[in-house]
């Protein structure tokens, strides 16, 4: 009894110690912002040096100072290996000395919107400052009054059809749907959507999400329709294609991820090209894999950035946007194999390193749907997916 009691005391002490550690932890990481402020102060004169940038330097310096006064940025739904966000966040942290509080990296666009709504009155670190959502969510969140306008200094180089005229939301990057193929398991690499119907891919093809809920999956169906005789206004052929793929037994109902590609269970994964390329990097040759941008049906998916109307750290948010849309930020995204939205402008000015240019996938002929087309396709696909792939399966009779 005595030993048990003393063990219990020991355990409670351990528990208190870990709580104390945990409570002290964040305090420790808050020290750096103070320490790195001097370098930030010296940055302002540095950017003021080139005469052409002098007018822009002052508002930037003010913004940096205001952001640092806030001390923190809260992001949401930014996985570290999605478009190289990991490097973007780290660079932002060290460059400006701000803390970045990352909420749920697995959140979907709907979650991000819900998070803004739920945190309307919350000044704490649970309220997201900035969001990165699917294209269709830009106009809808503007209509719901959830985001605030801000035009970054490089605003004019963002293509007009990828941004809101009033500055509420703005496209950040895009990619094209592609096939990630595990060539150890399936050495015959498909070149186009039609190839996937071949019996040799039996039980090997999978989507990266559920078309009833996932942006990536819905747009896969939309992309297939382009290759199957449909158009941006008609997604029905896409449903027909997947119905065919399913009844041929080629489509596996799994939600594919890289682990499953590695085991060979989903030897052909339909996903964004940047995800596929990043996956190949992470495989490091095991398994051997290839990315194929299908010959037809090249479908570009654009994501958009926005600042929450209820952001507790609006200046940090604006600074984050400035960073992302600067050449530096756009290049970081490019390292993640994403096509940044200002790509054309940067190509014209020749500021993209040649080796990066070489690594970017060739997406000529990619089509960009409008919000209206996306909405129409979404409505069609989500309503009819169950019927198309026989998802109304009952249990055994």
């Amino acid at each position: 009894m005595k030993t048990r009691k003393s063990l219990f005391t020991l355990f409670s002490l351990l528990l208190l110690a870990s709580l104390a550690l945990a409570a002290c932890g964040p305090a420790a990481t808050e020290a750096p912002p103070a320490a790195t402020e001097p370098p930030a102060a010296t940055e302002a004169p540095a950017t003021a040096a080139p005469a052409t940038e002098a007018p822009a330097a002052d508002p930037m310096a003010d913004l940096i100072a205001a952001a640092q006064a806030e001390g923190m940025l809260t992001t949401i739904a930014l996985p570290h290996d999605w478009c190289n966000y990991g490097e973007a966040i780290e660079t932002f942290k060290t460059k400006y000395g701000l803390e970045v509080n990352e909420l749920n990296p697995d959140a979907g666009s709907g979650d991000e919107i819900e998070a803004i709504k739920a945190n309307k009155d919350n000044p704490g670190p649970q309220a997201p400052d900035v969001i990165d959502v699917g294209f269709a969510f830009g106009p809808s969140s503007k209509a719901e009054g959830l985001i605030q306008p801000y035009k970054v200094s490089t605003w004019d180089s963002i293509p007009a059809d990828a941004k809101d005229a009033e500055g509420y939301w703005y496209g950040d990057y895009y990619g094209v749907l592609s096939f990630l193929v595990n060539t150890d398991v399936q050495p015959e690499v498909p070149q186009d959507w039609a190839d996937l119907l071949d019996p040799k891919y039996n039980g090997q093809v999978a989507l990266s999400g559920d078309p009833r809920a996932s942006n990536q999956a819905i747009q896969s169906v939309f992309a297939a329709s382009l290759a199957n005789g449909g158009s941006l206004d008609d997604a029905q052929p896409g449903l027909d294609y997947f119905a065919q793929l399913n009844s041929a037994g080629n489509l596996v109902p799994l939600i594919a991820n890289n682990g499953l590609v590695a085991t060979g269970e989903t030897a052909v994964r339909i996903t964004w090209d940047y995800n596929a390329l990043a996956a190949i990097d992470s495989f490091e040759g095991n398994p051997a894999a290839q990315v194929v941008i299908p010959a037809s049906g090249r479908f570009a998916g654009v994501y958009v950035q926005a600042i929450s109307a209820y952001a507790p750290h609006p200046n940090a948010a604006k600074l984050w946007m400035e960073f992302l849309y600067s050449d530096e930020g756009q290049t970081i995204w490019m390292k993640g194999y994403c096509h940044p939205i200002r790509e054309q402008d940067m190509r014209d000015r020749g500021v993209i390193p040649a080796d990066l240019l070489a690594k970017l996938p060739d997406v000529t002929g990619a089509v960009f749907p409008t919000v209206a087309q996306l909405d129409a396709a979404k409505a069609l696909i989500t309503a009819n997916w169950d019927a198309a792939v026989g998802a109304n399966i009952q249990a055994a009779p």
């Binding site: 979907g108 709907g110 819900e114 699917g134 989507l207 559920d210 009833r212 939600i255 060979g264 399966i393």
Partner: protein, 295 residues
């Protein structure tokens, strides 16, 4: 010495304020941390996509065949895993308590059950896919060494029954953990008394032990039912594109990447609450029947 008077067990207990005071912390906690946060759920189920009050969401629940089917599927899986999990989980619990296995195995199984009871979602799906998927190591082992091609023979992990088999990974342990204390409570003197009255082992079990255990077994099964009913991640990972159970449908409406109707999602969740309430009523009735003889 002061004698505090306790009312006789079967006397009609006036439910005076003092008694309810005893459970007030629990109800207060429930109000603060379950009811208040869920108010938005109730409220939202009556709101349509334009933000106006509507009963359409509830109407859709009953009218949309996809949703009705989703409920049916969820109930089927939950019932199947509750019953299957209940039976084998009970046998496992039996084996380490009454069944007389060594103490260390009991310890090992109980702690293992603690961990396994929450091993779900993508890691669980992956573990089974890596075992019995088309390229699972068992599948390949059988194919290469014994020339048995499971998938050729019609086996498919990505079906209702495959999902059921996988759900058992957290249902068995849950049953074990809840039933072990109940089995421990089977007093030896009952068995000995039965033995001395000439009862066979089988009679002891069917006439004495099972009736005593039945309320606990039913209680555990409703827990297993609820556990499977609310599960989402495992089903999504394994058969997300094919089996549309209700939790996946709700997820699609509320958290999806594509604009949907959250009001409908909330209404579907309210539907789940109602189904749970109905199941609870059924279970309570069964409880009352099973406890009758204990009086």
């Amino acid at each position: 010495m002061a004698q505090t008077s306790l009312p006789l067990p079967n006397a009609k207990e006036p439910s005076n304020l003092k008694n309810w005071l005893g459970v007030s912390p629990f109800f207060l906690f429930a109000i603060l941390f379950i009811l208040f946060p869920s108010l938005y759920l109730v409220e939202g189920s009556f709101i349509n996509q334009e933000g106006q009050f509507t009963l359409q969401n509830y109407a859709d629940l009953l009218r949309s065949p996809a949703i009705v089917n989703a409920y049916k599927l969820s109930i089927q899986i939950s019932a199947a895993t509750a019953i299957g999990g209940g039976i084998f989980g009970f046998l496992l619990a039996y084996s380490i308590t009454v069944g007389g296995l060594p103490r260390q195995l009991r310890s090992a199984l109980i702690t293992f059950s603690g961990v396994a009871s929450n091993f779900a979602g993508v890691p669980l799906a992956f573990a089974f896919i890596a075992t019995l998927g088309r390229r699972g190591f068992v599948t390949l082992l059988l194919k290469d060494n014994l020339n048995i091609d499971l998938y050729q023979a019609g086996f498919d992990l990505y079906t209702f029954w495959g999902l059921t088999a996988i759900y058992m990974f957290f249902q068995f342990p849950l049953m074990v953990l809840v039933m072990v204390p109940a089995l421990d409570g089977l007093k030896r003197e009952w068995r000995e008394a039965a033995e001395n009255l000439g009862a066979s082992y089988f009679q002891y079990w069917t006439r004495v032990a099972m009736p005593i255990l039945l309320p606990s077994i039913l209680g555990s099964m409703i827990l297993l039912f609820g556990n499977a009913f609310g599960a989402y991640a495992t089903a999504y990972a394994l058969t997300g594109g094919r089996l549309g159970i209700i939790t996946i449908q709700i997820g699609a409406q509320i958290r999806g990447d594509v604009l949907h109707n959250p009001g409908l999602g909330y209404a579907m969740a309210m539907g789940m609450v109602i189904i749970m309430a109905v199941s609870l009523i059924g279970y309570s009735w069964l409880q009352k029947v099973s406890e009758r003889w204990l009086r």
